[in-house]
């Protein structure tokens, strides 16, 4: 592939272009990230995510405070006010699930978790600061045992069948997979 002068020219151009490319990369290596002038989407995205987490914690802080103090019903009422303000926010559903679980309403807690996780899977992701995986896993484990007994005692009950579907959805999300 080096028959005539045009071939030689192309080879030379290739060599020059690659050499200059290597030189440019070596001379500017790492500057992109350090100066912050280039696109560092990952960092920007992480900052936005953590800012979101902070905002969520701030917005829902009063609810968490009431919940930690054992005032679950007051927390639920407070949360209801916030849920009306931010109806599409998954965090509200997850908190509602946690509160309802404490108040002895596991079926409704499961339904709230399903709503929340459908909106945002971070709540079953160990790596997310929003993760509530452990609490959700615990409820799913106990509910799965309980629902089997309830269905066996009430065959053909459509409400219990619907509840089983919700539990299975959560089990599937907790099992992981590529989502």
């Amino acid at each position: 592939m080096c028959k005539d002068s045009f071939d030689k020219f192309c080879w030379a151009l290739l060599a020059v272009a690659l050499s200059v490319l290597v030189a440019v990369l070596v001379l500017n290596g790492g500057r992109d990230n350090k100066s912050g002038s280039g696109p560092n989407k990952a960092l920007e995205r992480e900052m936005a995510y953590y800012a979101r987490v902070e905002l969520i914690n701030k917005l829902y802080g009063p609810v968490d405070k009431l919940r930690s103090a054992g005032s679950n019903q007051e927390a639920l009422l407070k949360l209801d006010e916030l849920n009306r303000k931010y109806p599409g926010e998954a965090h509200g559903h997850i908190l509602q699930g946690l509160i309802l679980q404490n108040l002895g309403a596991p079926d409704e807690a499961i339904a709230s978790f399903v709503e929340g996780i459908r909106l945002n899977g971070d709540y079953v992701d160990d790596k997310s600061p929003l993760s509530r995986r452990r609490e959700i896993q615990r409820l799913v484990d106990t509910s799965a045992k309980d629902i089997t007994a309830r269905i066996a005692a009430n065959p053909g009950n459509r409400t219990l069948a619907g509840q089983l579907q919700k539990i299975n959805y959560l089990k599937s999300r907790l099992a992981g997979g590529c989502e």
Partner: protein
């Protein structure tokens, strides 16, 4: 001759047109009065007017879906069992304690349970005080003025009475006095009564607290919850023992399949059934889920287990 034939042909055509018109008229009729009439007894919630307004679209929807003419019968809580016993209605819509009474005494069978509020087909009873009143825990209510809901209210009386007994407080002896507000909207009255200082504490259904905070009538911060019962089933549809099983199944299916978009006709207008009834839907709870109420009624010495 020709004219005679023509006349005959004309009268035949006229006859045919008349027959078609008659058919069309008959087809246009709804056939009212031909369908069986079945009555549903609705326990009055806050007032008769409110109950009728809420459940008219649902009753109309059931008539359309089931193919019988359902008629609403508004019934006072205290008269419910007597009127049911007299055979005034075949289907019942009551609160959960009244369902238990009818089930135990009259054999009423569970059809569907109503979903409303945060606890779905259940709700809880709470003992509340005004925030900042100095009453912070259940033990503080001794010697205070308390308001209860009506005696047959599962989350306005039964659950709270049971909570107090469990905490070692005898409502008959340990309070300054207790009262039940008169007239309609009793639950709202007693919650307002606490917030505005008429009562020190009250037995309030969580569902009413949820509704009043949502409507902005009170704020979540206005009250403190001293104790709260476990969630218990609430409003319930039932059917009289011996009702046609096919009819019962149709009613049950219609209730369980109700969606937010389903409508019923009231005075020529189509209204959304669930929205009008303030209900989120109907679910199929097993009768054993009502055992928690049976246990409460036994502890509190209330019907159907009352002992004198």
């Amino acid at each position: 001759m020709k004219r005679g034939m023509c006349n005959r042909r004309f009268s035949r055509v006229l006859l045919l047109v008349c027959a078609i018109l008659m058919l069309l008229l008959v087809a246009g009729c709804k056939g009212e009065g031909k369908r069986p009439v079945v009555k549903i007894g609705y326990m009055l919630c806050n007032s008769e007017e409110e109950t009728m307004h809420r459940f008219k679209p649902l009753t109309s929807y059931l008539s359309e879906k089931v193919g019988v003419d359902f008629v609403m019968v508004p019934v006072d809580t205290n008269d419910f069992e007597k009127r049911f016993k007299n055979g005034e209605f075949a289907f019942t819509h009551t609160n959960s304690i009244l369902y238990v009474i009818l089930h135990e005494n009259q054999g009423v069978e569970l059809l569907a349970s109503e979903k409303r509020g945060k606890f779905g087909p259940r709700t809880a009873g709470a003992i509340i005080a005004r925030k900042g009143s100095g009453i912070e825990k259940l033990a503080d209510i001794k010697g205070k003025r308390m308001a209860f809901g009506p005696m047959l209210a599962p989350t306005g009386y039964l659950a709270e009475y049971d909570l107090m007994l469990a905490a070692g407080i005898n409502p008959e002896n340990d309070l300054a006095h207790y009262t039940i507000p008169s007239g309609s909207f009793k639950h709202e009255k007693l919650i307002y009564g606490v917030v505005y200082g008429k009562y020190d504490v009250a037995a309030a259904p969580i569902l009413d607290i949820e509704n009043m905070t949502r409507d902005g009538k009170i704020a979540a911060d206005d009250i403190v919850i001293l104790a709260q019962s476990a969630p218990i089933p609430y409003c319930t549809f039932g059917s009289a023992k011996g009702t046609d099983p096919a009819l019962v199944k149709k009613v049950k299916d219609a209730l369980l399949n109700l969606k937010a978009t389903d409508t019923g006709e009231v005075d020529g207008e189509r209204l959304k059934v669930l929205k009008a009834a303030w209900v989120d839907g109907y679910v199929e709870l097993p009768d054993s889920d009502y055992n928690v109420i049976r246990d409460m009624a036994k502890r509190v010495n209330m019907p159907p287990y009352q002992k004198y």
